[in-house]
Amino acid sequence: MIKTVIVEDEKLARDLIRDYLDKHEDFQIIGEYEDGFSGLKAINELKPDLVFLDIQMPKLTGFEMLEVLEHHPVIIFTTAYDQYALKAFEHNALDYLLKPYSAERFDEALAKARERVKSGGDQKSISRMVEHRDQQKETIHRVVVKSRSKIHVIPVDRIVYLEAQDDYVMIYTPDSRHLKQKTMKFFEARLPEEDFVRIHRGYIVRISEIAQMQLYEKESYIVILKNGVKLPVSKTGLPRLKAKLDF
């Protein structure tokens, strides 16, 4: 039996998959979820072999889910229309279904999935997909992180500053901090340019959180944030900071 999960926000679209899947007796639907958040939790807990995953969903998009999956099932993406998604699917996904799709097309995707489940899953597709998304330099509005078994969605509006920690970035909000496996370069390119500035190899700061700038020893500066945190400003960071603060 191939354990299958459907993550899709429309009831009729879920019913359609259920209907198409009905005649394939080796597949068993073990759960249906209507938003990215509950879908993500279920995948990590139930560890299905196959997931039908919609891209546009409440709370978490299909792509955001990929970033924090602990269990890596075989995924068949379903989407109506999304130019960015299509590009990501084309070379990286095992298969994807464009709505509306025929039973024949569905069976074809299912045959591929069956093969892949038998040969031991699909770790590669997911990491390739995440990599592909990382190359797209679109501005982000939220960051999805996991700490132990919990998933947090951090709105970019709440980020105070970021600190580099080896292969990770520590994200500081007013009341918490979260580790995310991404580079500073990733965030530098994607956080809204008008709100954030990289003041140091190791720090990106929200401009409106800066309380003051101080001369520290000769020719080197530090910034003091509104919450009292002091951060160093590097030689390359200084002109960037000055440009953003207009002085």
Binding site: L12, K59, K99, P155, D157
Partner: protein, 365 residues
Amino acid sequence: MSNPILERLKHIYIYLIVWIIIAFIQALLIIFATDVQLYVAITDSLVFNILYALLAVTIWYPIRYSNPEGKLTFRIAITYLVVGVVVVTGWLYLGYTILKGILVNQEAYFQFLNDSFIARLATGILYYGVTLLIYHLFIYAKELEAKKLNETNLNLLVKESELNVLRSQLNPHFLFNSLNSISYLTVSDPARAREMIIKLSEFLRYALKHGEREKTKLAEEISNIELYLQIEKIRFGDKLVFEKEVSELCAEGLIPNMILQPLFENAVKHGVYESTEPITIKMVCRGEQAGMHIEISNNYDPDQVSRKGAGIGLKNVRNRLMLIYGRDDLVRVEKSGNLFRVQLFIPLAESVKKRSENPNKRERS
């Protein structure tokens, strides 16, 4: 606008050539009319014409500053008269003084100079008149050019916004998702599938009709929006609730075609698509003497992180209203608590007329 004579090298050349010809003719006339020596006649002609050529260049500035629009009113006529008196008097005074200073012992010539005063005065007035005329022709040509450019820009903007409206109407995400739902219903619930196909067709037909007429009755627009919302409701069920309060006066009022559609699409996209809880989209319209107040609001998931992108639809609405009514203050957006609210004001025909009487002026500022 810069001085049309000094504006280009070519204009300066033409100007000089014209004055050389005039000066030549005047010198000839003096020789034929009197028996002064050749060099005296040439000096006379050069002094007067060089003086006027210089003065004529400066006349541009009082014209330009007293009358930037190139119009002719009583006040401006007085200004021109004063400038004319100053210029012609100054010209004659300088001319006479200079000539009497550089030509000595030419009694016969001085006699001629005095006798020809009236002729010279007439020449000065003629010159002044011609200068004014030429400058005005210049201003007129420039205005015409600017107006044409303005019109082209406006047309371009209209086309562009029409294209945007069309694109947003045939929202592919909505279309393909609806077709996907229908695809399931054809087997499980054929009657509902048929209902949905009919609604979708009616909605698309209305969208394609846009462009035929610019404005439509609010009631008609609302019935199309209800079609759209019913289709979304087939997809999302109880997650989507629609309420409306529209006064009778409002229902009869004219609004730009499809102007509300992008706002409802936004409400669905950012409210319903992003939430797991029911979302209420509410429309209120109050009619007034001056126009209609339309408010569209929706609650949204408070946990939801703002996904920017609502901007394009709203921008299109704002641009279209600006083009049609010539006002950029007709859209107001408010976000408070977990309520998103867009307020529109649609001016009624009479108040529109007054506003759009002089749209070009507005553009220039």
